[in-house]
Structure formats: structure tokens, C-alpha cells
Amino acid sequence: MAVQEQAVSHVDRIAARTPRNLSRRARGLSDRSVAWLFIAPTITLLLAINIFPLLWAIRLSFTNYKSNLANLPIRFVGLANYSDILTDADIWHGMQVTARFVLSSIALQVALGFGLALLINRGFRSHGFWTTVILLPMMLSPAVVGNFWTLLLQPQIGPFNYVIGFLLSVSPQSFSMIGDVTLAPWTIVLVDSWMWTPYVMLICLAGLRSIPDYIYEAAEVDRASQWRQFWSITLPMVLPFLMLAVLFRAIEAFKMFDLVNLLTSGGPGSTTELASITLKREAFEKWRTGYSSAFAIILFVTVFGAANIYVKALNRVKRR
């Protein structure tokens, strides 16, 4: 009681030192107002960095604005930029390349990531060490990964060609992973998967570890086989996590730029020219700001729409 009285009087002393005009204003604030006050900086930042640029880009997409010629009058061109983009064969080619890359890399990363998660989840000896080793590629900077994979894939000096040549009994210099039209797209998928499979593995591992043991024990009591347990328990319960990993990786893969730029610059020819490479060239080399804003909005709408449909499906799976 005495302690409480001491605490109250201490609070009173501090309150008494609050300037009168401030204390009058503070007394009038509701809890809701205080809550808004606390999140106001975050909301302001969100509006300034995300919402305003989006609205500005939408505005610019209807103009002929070029940011290297900022002094020229800006002309409203209506839907001309959108029409140019949607009728440009090179743009469609880039979108196809991007779609193939996204689908291939997701499929590979999910297969490998889930497999690794199942393996790690068995809890073999030194699994902690191996988990750390597997996570290392994810911790590297994409610039570093791009540069050293370029060296690794060199036909004359790179170990990759040497190993493949040894296994398949072909000359290491007889093929070029980043210089061949057929192999280059798969090389990008390979490098991206090397870097981001650990990410999928982590999410799947979290899902696997969230499955209560008693479910498996009950299944064993019912003499369910390993395959039955995997199909009826593991997969359905891990599916939401798997779908989340697919969503995150798909969004990242769709906007992937740095690895492709370093490995192939979109080549050979335009074989690996992803939409992000085209966008960068239009926006920051040709300075066609209005045109590239329209392209960015089209990409945004595509990703947003696809993500929305996918999230609805994810929610349905979670509710099951």
C-alpha cells in the first residue's frame, strides 16, 4: 500500500510538471487518437514512398514525358503508351521469357526446397550445421552471386563445365551455359534456384515443425504407411506454408533483375531479356519515362491480379 502510494505521488509529481497547455490538450485525446498518432509516421512514409509514386507513375503513363528532357512541355497522349506496349512483339517476347522463368524457377525451388525441408526435419546428426550451410547462398548479395557464377560458368576456366564435361564425357569447352540460346534461360533458373531454394526450405521447415507429433503417432497406431502419412498428414498441413513460399518467390522472380543483368545482360540476343531488363532499358537508358511508367503499371496490375487470385486460393486452403 505504501509502495503504491509512493508510486502514485511520483506520478503526480511528474504530471504536475507537464506544461498546462499540453496537459489540457492531452486530456482531450481519445485512445483511438493516440493510436493514430503513433502510426501516423508509418502511414506518412507509406504514402510518400509507395502510394504517391504509384499515383504519379499512373499519371505519367498517359504522357510523353522523358525525364532527361524535363524542360520540354509534357503532352497528354491518352492510351498511346499502353497501346504501343501491348502491340509490341518484343514486349510480348519479354513477358513470355519472364513467365517461363517464373514458372521454371518456382517449380524447381519448391521441389528442392520441400525435399530439403523433409530431410532436415528428420533431425539427423549435425543437421543444424547442414542447415546453416544450406542457408549460406541466401545470405549472399545478388551482385556477388552474379559475378562469381559468371566465372564458375566460364567454359575454359570454370569448374562447372569441367564437372559436367567429366560426368558426360564431353569437352568442357564444347558448350557454354550463358552463351547458348537453349542453355542460357536454364542457367538463370539454376543460379536463382541455387540462391533461393534455402528460402523455400526455411518456410517449409517451419510448416513441417508446426505439425503436432501426436497426429503422426495416431497414424502409426492406425498402421498408416510412410507414404500415406506424407499424403494425408504432411502435405495437407504444409500446403499453406508451401503456397506462401510460392507466392513470395513468384513475386520476387517476376521482378528479378540483378542476376540476369550480371550473368547475361538479357542475352544471348534477347533470350533472357526479362521484363525487368526491358523496363530498366526503357526507363533509365532511353529515358522514356511515360512509356516505361505505362509498362510498369501493366506489370503491377498483372502481378497484383495474379497475387489476389492466388491469395484467395491460399485462404481457402488454410480454412480447410
Partner: protein, 446 residues
């Protein structure tokens, strides 16, 4: 003063004192910032710049950026009206855009006042690095670094008796640096696959870089000698039958043939540094590269000295031409130190400074240097350089040159490296791309 205010004063007072001190210190030290690409000639310029500082007391600071980011970085600085650069050694292709967008100051009045005559510099460098519009007396830069594409070869390999005998038997002539593109193909194919010094070697290295300007800067050395022209000399911007002429198609096919037969594997996206690495590591018998790198190659302990030789870009049926490189030095319009920057330009234009520039490893464009009697003997690559500067051609220097360059990068790389379509199709599509660019600029292409 309550303790809050005392704390604030204690926190900010040192900062304010530092800022005041810095400001006054800056007012006392004069300095200029020069922006360029990070390569050997830039190091030579730093050395040369010490003389300027000794004479004027103006400290020289430098902002050097690797070639891979050079255009992106500095065009960005210019577009954003940055005050970072007082002087800039910008690429020759930037001259049109920089002049029309007000990034550089016009130097005519300054040249007249200081009696700096453009007749004192090689014509090709004045047209290529200084003038906009081209072939008009409107100067936006002083020619600073003369450059063009040339070739190096392994003189020691060419001198091997067994190889000379084999070559003579096969082709009926001596194994010498090629004078025509047909000879270049023969020599390159001859060396490809041979084992020399215990290693398999390849005939030639040519540019194939996709991202910036590499393959364009390489392929033009084959296109020009076969008759490629950017437009009709009588009707500017009329490109049909000039860009995609039968000769141009043949030139493009020859470049692809050289790439397919004789380029070391893996060099499908290779520009300057990869060429130097391929040559220095003994992978190739001949290398295409800018003259700017030849001083360093000559000094290389493994392939320099007696082992290296230099030759000019081979001729074709339509004549002998080489791709112009090089840069001019300009005063940035947004600089607050234009007067000091002009002092640098005046100092750099002096014949004695130009001579020292050449001696340190830069490539002077001054006639007083290149036409001096002793110039051909001054360096082993000097004769080839002098000859080449007499037949250089440059890419478009229009304000929209980037659009034109990226279009050519795509079409040429698609055909040469990615095996898409034919040479005729590639050049036909290039004409279509370029017409669209010029139409956006309001130029008549018919």
C-alpha cells in the same frame, strides 16, 4: 536554462562549429572535380593534372567510374543538373544530347578569346568529339582522348617457322597481319584450334557485349569496310538501302563468321576487359580493342614487348574504316566553378601539355603531337594509330543516340550470337527501329 535546453545546446554546438569551420576552409581551397571513366588513361590524366595544380594552385579532384556504369552514372548526373562535375570527359555520342539539353557550355567564345584553334586538332576528333550539329563550327568540347578500334597480334606466334611454313603451304602467302577482312578470316581460322605453348588457342577476339555498346562498337569495324552507311549523304536520315545495303549484309555475315569460327568459347557477352584478359592469357592470336589499351599491353610482362604487334582495322570492298572512340573534355553548365574549369581547358590545350599527355599514356588529338616527325617512332602502336585516325567513322551522336544504340545492340546480338534470323532480316528490322526513333524526334526518314 533548464536541463533540456542545456542538452540540446551541448549536442548541436560541436556540429555547428564543424560546419562553420568546413565552410570557411572550403572558401580558402580552390578545387575542380573532373569526371571520367576509370581506366589507364585516367591514371595518366591524374599524373598530368599535378602540373596544372602547380601552375594555378587549383586542386584537381577526380570522379572515375568503371566503364560498365560510366554512361548510366554521368548521364544521370547531367540530367539531374548535379554540381558534382565541373569538367567532364564525356563519350563522343553524348555531344548531341548534352549540347541540346544545355549540359555543356558552348566554347566558341572562349576558344576565340584564348586563341585556341580547332585547326590544331585532328579533323576527325573535332567533328567526332566537339561539334554539334556535326560539320558546323559549334564547339562543345575540346578533343581530349583520341581513340579508335585497332588490333593487336602475337608477333612471336606469327614468327614461328613451322606455323609460317604451314600457312604458306595452305594459303600461298606469308603469315602476316591481315590487310583485308578476307585475310583476317583466313588467319583467324588458321590459328583456331592450334596448340601453342601447351595450350589450345583461338584465332581472334571480337566484341560481343550485349548490355551497353560493345557488339555495336565491334560490328561497325566489319560493316563500314563492306559499305554500311548510316544514311544517304544527300538525304539525311534516309536509311533504306544504306543501313541494309547488300554490302552491309555481307559485312554483318563476315562478323558473325569470325565470331562463330574463331572466338574463344564463353565470350558471348564480352567487351574491353575480356579482350585484354583473353590476349594477356595467351588464348587468342589477334584481338580487337581500343588503342587506349595498347600502351598497357605493350608493357605487359607476358605478352608485351617483342611478343606484341599492332595492325589497323582491315579493309573491305568499300574501303578502309575503323570505329571512332575517344572523348572530348567539356565544362559542365551546372558547375559553380566555370572560370576555373575554363582555365583547365586552356592549360590542357597547350602543345607542351598535349605532348606530355601522349608521353604519359593518353592519346593526344593535337596535330602538334601526332604530326611531329618523331611521332611514328615514339611508340610501336603510333603508326597504326595515326593511320587509323585518318579513316575513322562514328556512330550516331543524335540526342536520342541511346535509343539508336540499344536497337542496334539488340538486332546485331540477336543475329550474331543468338542465331536469330538472317543478316538481311536483322538490318531490315534495324532500319524499322531507327525510323521509329527518328519519327519520334520529328525527323523525316523518307
Amino acid at each position: 536554462m533548464n536541463w533540456h535546453k542545456k542538452l540540446l545546446v551541448a549536442a548541436f554546438a560541436p556540429t555547428l562549429a564543424l560546419l562553420a569551420g568546413t565552410g570557411s576552409a572550403q572558401a580558402e581551397d580552390k578545387s575542380l572535380t573532373l569526371c571520367w571513366a576509370a581506366w589507364d588513361p585516367a591514371n595518366a590524366l591524374v599524373e598530368l593534372g599535378k602540373d596544372f595544380t602547380k601552375q594555378t594552385g587549383i586542386q584537381m579532384k577526380y570522379e572515375f567510374v568503371p566503364w560498365t556504369s560510366y554512361a548510366d552514372r554521368f548521364i544521370n548526373e547531367l540530367n539531374s543538373h548535379s554540381k558534382l562535375c565541373d569538367l567532364i570527359i564525356g563519350d563522343s555520342q553524348w555531344i548531341g544530347g548534352s549540347a541540346e539539353n544545355g549540359h555543356y557550355i558552348k566554347l566558341n567564345d572562349f576558344f576565340d578569346k584564348e586563341k585556341i584553334s580547332m585547326n590544331d586538332f585532328m579533323e576527325a576528333t573535332v567533328v567526332g568529339y566537339s561539334e554539334w550539329p556535326k560539320n558546323t563550327p559549334n564547339y562543345w568540347a575540346l578533343p581530349a582522348m583520341a581513340d579508335a578500334v585497332g588490333w593487336t597480334y602475337r608477333r612471336d606466334w606469327f614468327a614461328k617457322p613451322e606455323l609460317r611454313a604451314e600457312f604458306k603451304q595452305k594459303y600461298g602467302r606469308e603469315l602476316e597481319p591481315p590487310k583485308t577482312w578476307d585475310e583476317l578470316l583466313e588467319v583467324a581460322k588458321f590459328f583456331t584450334g592450334k596448340e601453342i605453348d601447351g595450350k589450345k588457342v583461338y584465332g581472334s577476339y571480337i566484341y560481343t557485349e550485349r548490355g551497353s555498346e560493345g557488339i555495336t562498337m565491334g560490328v561497325t569495324n566489319a560493316l563500314y569496310p563492306y559499305g554500311f552507311q548510316y544514311d544517304d549523304p544527300k538525304h539525311p536520315y534516309h536509311m533504306d538501302e544504306f543501313v541494309n545495303s547488300p554490302g552491309a549484309v555481307k559485312g554483318l555475315e563476315v562478323y558473325k563468321e569470325l565470331y562463330k569460327c574463331c572466338q574463344p568459347p564463353g565470350l558471348t557477352n564480352a567487351y574491353m576487359q575480356e579482350g585484354l584478359d583473353a590476349f594477356k592469357s595467351g588464348q587468342v592470336a589477334m584481338q580487337m580493342n581500343w588503342f587506349a589499351f595498347f600502351p598497357g599491353l605493350y608493357k605487359d610482362p607476358n605478352v608485351g614487348g617483342d611478343k606484341i604487334g599492332f595492325f589497323i582495322n582491315p579493309a573491305g570492298p568499300a574501303g578502309q574504316f575503323s570505329q571512332l572512340g575517344g572523348q572530348g573534355i567539356s565544362v559542365v553548365a551546372y558547375s559553380d566553378k566555370k572560370d576555373d574549369a575554363l582555365k583547365y581547358i586552356k592549360w590542357f590545350a597547350q602543345p607542351a601539355v598535349q605532348q606530355k599527355w601522349w608521353e604519359l599514356g593518353g592519346y593526344s588529338a593535337a596535330k602538334s603531337v601526332v604530326q611531329a616527325p618523331g611521332f611514328p617512332a615514339s611508340q610501336p602502336f603510333a603508326p597504326a594509330f595515326l593511320q587509323t585516325m585518318g579513316f575513322v567513322k562514328d556512330f550516331w551522336a543524335e540526342p536520342l543516340y541511346v535509343d539508336l544504340l540499344l536497337d542496334m545492340q539488340k538486332r546485331v546480338h540477336d543475329y550474331v550470337v543468338a542465331d536469330q534470323g538472317t543478316a538481311q532480316q536483322a538490318l531490315d528490322m534495324l532500319v524499322k527501329d531507327w525510323k521509329k526513333v527518328f519519327a519520334d524526334e520529328g525527323k523525316n526518314t523518307e
